[in-house]
């Protein structure tokens, strides 16, 4: 239902009292306010990504509130899961038990999302994941409430394995943290590497907040692989890369989506980051269909921190949720039903289509290389052009 002032006026004059009353009602009072939730790591080691996601979700809300055609006025309730499952369950429960809240966009950390999906299901709160990549978040349950706009680590590792073996690398040592995130990456990457004819010479589980990797890296050094992979988040990636250099390991360093943040360069400093490879679902904001629009608006909004890698997904997820509210109203059940029918939905990250588990089926994965203190899309980098080179396969 879209009115402009002209038709509204026309109807008031011509139509019966009931109809006129309805029109006057909407014109006279302010729009109904709908609360929408956001959860991400706003403090802690990966907070840069969480804050980028929060800002992007807030941007989606601000833009819609500025749109006179919107039927509701929206407000954001952003909570911090600290990337810890126990905290995540608390804040998810807080959102889910707030009856005024219509839906949520949540979680960057897979381990947290694994803990909270049951909460959303129990309270029937529609939740769209904006960053966590563990497949089981959508595929490990039959909850219609749970959807996800970003791809999963299955797609990510399939592309990574093809890419790395394509460059001629044959032997890999994997260091992974022992969370669901790290273990998942380890098992999918190992599987796809084996399919592509490469060998994983060693896999080492480490705790997510481990400081000293010398013992693991000493073993890696003896195994002499072409590539050292760290499957975990930025703080661990920084330490592994740092300590590889200490031990004189010259292999290529490959990360996963979890290390693609600007904090990686802040933590490493100097030239150590140079040549690190990583992979991420989607494409850099500026290369996305709606990327230019997103970046301009983000700039205009004047946030103090950058959107980081997953900002566009948080923006797309929040926009999708708002579209759902606009279409069916702020009713949780109706939104869940709406999410079940999303197909070729326009978003700044490309078309969104949910499969029967609520997983977006678009599997766009981009490879990045660290060049001069920035993440550069592989195809645009000096490495792809051949003016710089990675350590050669042994």
């Amino acid at each position: 239902m879209k009115f402009n002032i002209g038709t509204k006026f026309h109807r008031i004059v011509l139509a019966a009292g009931a109809c006129a009353g309805l029109a006057c009602g909407t014109a006279a009072t302010a729009k109904e306010t709908v609360a929408l939730g956001f959860i991400g790591p706003l403090t802690g080691g990966v907070s840069s990504v969480g804050l980028g996601g929060r800002n992007s979700a807030e941007l989606a809300i601000r833009l819609r509130n500025a749109d006179p055609a919107a039927k509701y006025s929206y407000e954001l309730e952003a909570l911090d899961d600290e990337c810890k499952p126990n905290v995540g369950v608390q804040v998810a429960t807080k959102l889910a038990t707030n009856r005024k809240l219509a839906g949520a966009v949540a979680h960057y950390c897979s381990a947290v999302a694994m803990g909270t999906v049951d909460v959303y299901h129990r309270f029937g709160l529609p939740m769209t994941v904006w960053g966590a990549v563990l497949p089981d978040i959508t595929y490990g349950n039959d909850y219609p409430e749970i959807t996800r706009v970003n791809g999963t680590m299955i797609n990510q590792n399939e592309t990574a394995a093809k890419f790395m073996t394509g460059l001629g690398y044959k032997t890999f040592a994997i260091i992974h943290d022992t969370t669901d995130y790290g273990k998942g990456h380890n098992s999918y990457l190992s599987k796809f590497l084996a399919e592509d004819g490469a060998t994983v010479v060693g896999a080492f589980g480490v705790s997510a907040d481990q400081q000293d990797f010398t013992a693991e890296l000493t073993q890696v050094k003896a195994l002499n692989p072409d590539v050292v992979v760290y499957a975990g988040l930025t703080p661990g990636g920084v330490r592994v890369r740092q300590q590889m250099a200490k031990l004189g390991i010259t292999a290529v360093f490959q990360g996963v989506s979890g290390i693609k943040s600007d904090a990686y360069f802040e933590g490493l400093g100097g030239d150590l980051a140079e040549g690190t490879l990583t992979f991420l679902e989607g494409a850099p904001a500026e290369k996305l269909p709606g990327g230019a629009f997103f970046l301009t608006e983000y700039e205009k909004a004047g946030f103090s921190t950058p959107p980081e890698a997953y900002g566009p997904f948080a923006f797309a997820a929040m926009n999708l949720l708002i579209d759902a509210v606009e279409a069916v109203g702020p009713d949780r059940k109706a939104i869940v039903e709406y999410m079940g029918t999303v197909k070729d939905h326009e978003s700044i990250t490309g078309l969104i289509t949910f499969d029967d588990h609520g997983q977006n089926t678009v599997a766009l994965i981009t490879g990045y290389v660290a060049q001069d203190g920035k993440w550069v899309v592989w195809e645009d980098s000096d490495y792809a052009k051949g003016t710089r080179s990675l350590p050669a396969p042994k």
Partner: protein
């Protein structure tokens, strides 16, 4: 396993051991003089490291580029600042609770540690991200087969062991050390003999905290990375090391530090199962050792504290 690999593990174990011993020494000193366990020790260490990091940024900003001068500035600021903080904690948090149950001291320092950690995370610019600590030591390395021995590691270990040596001299050979030992043995008698009790306690906390800050700077120089959570695990390990060595005994703390580092390295290098369990292994052995020798490997004798 070839020689180079074993040497690499050994070198790493010695460095870790030195670091752990420096942290454990603090726990043992505090327990010696005051019979308290100060759980904020690890976070004070982290704070000291951040003070050093800030000092380095300040020096770099005013144009001091010589790494040795920078290192000196970092050490003076960090050790001095942390010693003051340690003394302040003793004066305003630990001493006032002297008559209260020991559990209160334990709790208050535990909470203080959390407060320090969260404060750095929230109020230090970008405090939640890991920071690149500068490499101020020469990074030349000698390659012997698969073993690479780095100059900075050697300097760090020598400096750490040197500091432990100096500390041992201070405790055993100076008037201050004598006073600390006297207070540790019998507070009342020490007071009667004219020892300024409060001053001795403050000095002990200042020394213990300064040594911890040194361990923190060492940690930063070795890994070239610091973060707000670094004190948590270092504090826990230092505490465990002090306990297995024998709380209250300086040499016990050193032994405990090296023992714990050795266990971690063995856990990661030699056990057939994955290295993910190295901390499980190390702490399990600590539990077994405590069951075997509840007062530690070198137990504190009432006449021979600290």
């Amino acid at each position: 396993m070839d020689f180079g690999l074993i040497a690499q593990y050994l070198a790493n174990g010695i460095l870790l051991g030195t670091m752990y011993a420096l942290v454990a020494v603090g726990f043992t000193l505090f327990f010696g003089v005051l019979d308290v366990i100060k759980f904020s020790h690890g976070d004070v260490l982290m704070l000291g490291t951040f003070i050093g990091f800030t000092a380095w940024m300040g020096l770099a900003a005013i144009g001091v580029t010589n790494p040795w001068v920078q290192l000196l500035g970092v050490l003076i600021c960090s050790l001095g600042g942390t010693a003051l903080i340690g003394a302040a904690i003793a004066k305003w948090l630990v001493l006032p609770l002297k008559k209260a149950p020991q559990l209160n001291t334990l709790l208050i320092t535990l909470m203080l540690g959390t407060a320090i950690r969260e404060a750095v995370r929230l109020f230090y610019p970008n405090g939640s991200n890991p920071k690149a600590f500068p490499a101020l030591l020469p990074d030349a390395a000698v390659e012997l087969g698969s073993f690479s021995l780095r100059a900075d590691s050697v300097i760090l270990v020598l400096a750490g062991l040197g500091l432990i040596g100096v500390l041992s001299l201070v405790i055993n050979r100076t008037r201050l050390g004598l006073a600390i030992r006297a207070v540790a043995q019998d507070e009342e008698t020490a007071r009667i003999m004219g020892i300024n009790y409060t001053l001795v306690v403050l000095a002990t906390f200042a020394i213990g905290s300064g040594v911890a800050a040194f361990a923190g700077i060492m940690n930063g120089l070795y890994y070239n990375e610091i973060n707000f959570g670094m004190g948590l695990i270092l504090g826990l390990i230092g505490f465990s090391a002090a306990i297995i060595g024998g709380l209250g005994n300086l040499y016990g703390a050193i032994l405990g530090g090296f023992l714990f580092a050795g266990l971690q390295v063995i856990g990661a290098a030699l056990l057939p199962f994955a290295s993910a369990y190295k901390d499980v292994f190390a702490f399990a052995v600590v539990i077994a050792l405590m069951a075997w020798k509840p007062t530690g490997l070198i137990p504190e004798r009432s006449s021979d504290r600290v």
